[in-house]
Structure formats: C-alpha cells, structure tokens
Symmetry: C2
Subunit: 111 residues, 2 copies
DNA sequence: AATATATTCAACCTTTTGGTTGAATGTGAA
DNA sequence: TTCACATTCAACCAAAAGGTTGAATATATT
C-alpha cells in the first residue's frame, strides 16, 4: 500500500550522505560491516548505526555467517518512491526523460 | 555539479510527509501560504517553516504579490536525485522499468 | 488614521539524529 | 582455554528538527 511511513524510511535513509555512500559501496557488491566502515572518518559504531537505519528501510539486507555479517543492497523500497513521484505528476514530469537520457549516455560511454 | 549538499537538501526536504503533501498540493497549481497551510493540523508558523525548507531545496519558488506570497512547485532539484540514482546503477536498475510502467498505466487510464 | 490580513521572526521546548566511548556478546584461531 | 576479532548494546552528549506561542512587519481595507 506504500504507507507514508515506508516512504519516510526510504527517503530519510537516503537523505544522509554517509548512508548514500554506504549504498554506493554495496551496489558494487556484498561487504562486511567492517569493510563498509573502513573508508569513513567515524567510529565503527557510528557506521553500524547507519547500517541499521538502512536495514530498517529495507535498503540493506544482512546475511550472518559466523561472526561476520554480510550486507547487500536491496532496491525494492525505491518502488514506493517512484510511485509517489508518479502520483505527483507535474512534479515528476520531464524528470523521467532526463533520467532516461542520463542512462542512455552512460550506456553509450561504455562499449 | 550536483553537490552532495544539494542532494541532501532535496532528499531531506522530501523525507517529511508534511512537505510531500505540500508539494503535492502545489503540483496541482500555485497557492498562497495560508491556502497551503489550511488542511494541516498544525500552526501556520509550522507550515511556513516547512515551506522555507522546500524553498531552500529549490523545490518551491515564491512570488510576492503585495502581502500575498504565491508558491509554485519546481521540479529541477530532482535532476540531482536522478543523477545519483543513475550513478548507483545496480541500485536503480529495474526501478526505471517499474516507473515507466507505472506512468504508462496512468496514461492508459486516461482517454 | 485605524484596523484587519498575510506572512515571517524570535524565543522557547521536546524529540530525534548522528556521533562518541566503553562494555557485552558471539565466533574463530592458537 | 585463552586470546583476538566482528559486531552490537548501552549510556551519554551536542546539535538539529519540528512544533508551539507571541511579537514584528508589510500591505490592504474601511
């Protein structure tokens, strides 16, 4: 039903630069908590909390293997965001074209 | 250049349900501050603050006409969001199809 | 000029957020 | 068993967010 709360969680999770960086890291493939945390200039605990926020938003899934937790990226929650944008037609109008073009340009850049 | 800060402002603005509702209202056309505020169960001042956040994110533009301020919706900041999503390819992959389909369904529903 | 309307500014309060450090838990390695 | 490692839990803190009320400002209306 795309509760407003779901959308809130998704957008709130996305609104933080650290969390966006984490997602970008994970979009390149699974990684453990420590690995994800390494590049950041903050405590492991802080990163762990950010991961929890992403997990609550279902943008990240955790797979426990012994003492290691493997994190992976989950795109599903973006459906709600896309839906909201579609509902706010004028809002979104034209953006889709821009996005399509961006993606096409990216494809064109790679052989 | 799509500063991380720009993206932050956009997504932070979008992360609040009141502000999303305001944008939806404005996507239906210009309105004054008081008009925008009316449906909400909070003080005019609170709504005024939300509008300032949307303005700072450039999602809303203000046109002063005497004592009345007319607000209108501005979609441009979403470019940065779209760009970020395009950059996080795996992240976004598949979502575009879903969005396209949603929009096509909407179009089909209207003669 | 006096009053009403549209809006923001300022001060304040409470809750949430993003970070810290230190201890606890669970698992693997010596 | 003992020690190291991976991760979270708990308590704490400062700053930001979201709301309130009351006063200020600017513009209309009478």
């Amino acid at each position: 039903m795309a509760t407003s709360q779901t959308l809130d969680r998704t957008l709130t999770a996305l609104a933080d630069p650290t969390r966006r960086a984490i997602l970008q890291r994970l979009s390149a493939g699974e990684a453990r908590v420590t690995e994800v945390a390494r590049p950041f200039n903050m405590s492991l605990n802080a990163v762990s909390k950010h991961i929890l926020v992403l997990e609550r938003a279902k943008l990240v899934k955790r797979r426990r293997m012994g003492r290691e937790h493997f994190l992976s990226y989950r795109p599903e929650p973006l459906d709600a965001a896309a839906k909201w944008m579609a509902e706010t037609r004028t809002f979104w109008a034209g953006r889709l074209d821009a996005l399509e073009q961006l993606l096409r340009e990216e494809d064109a850049a790679k052989p």
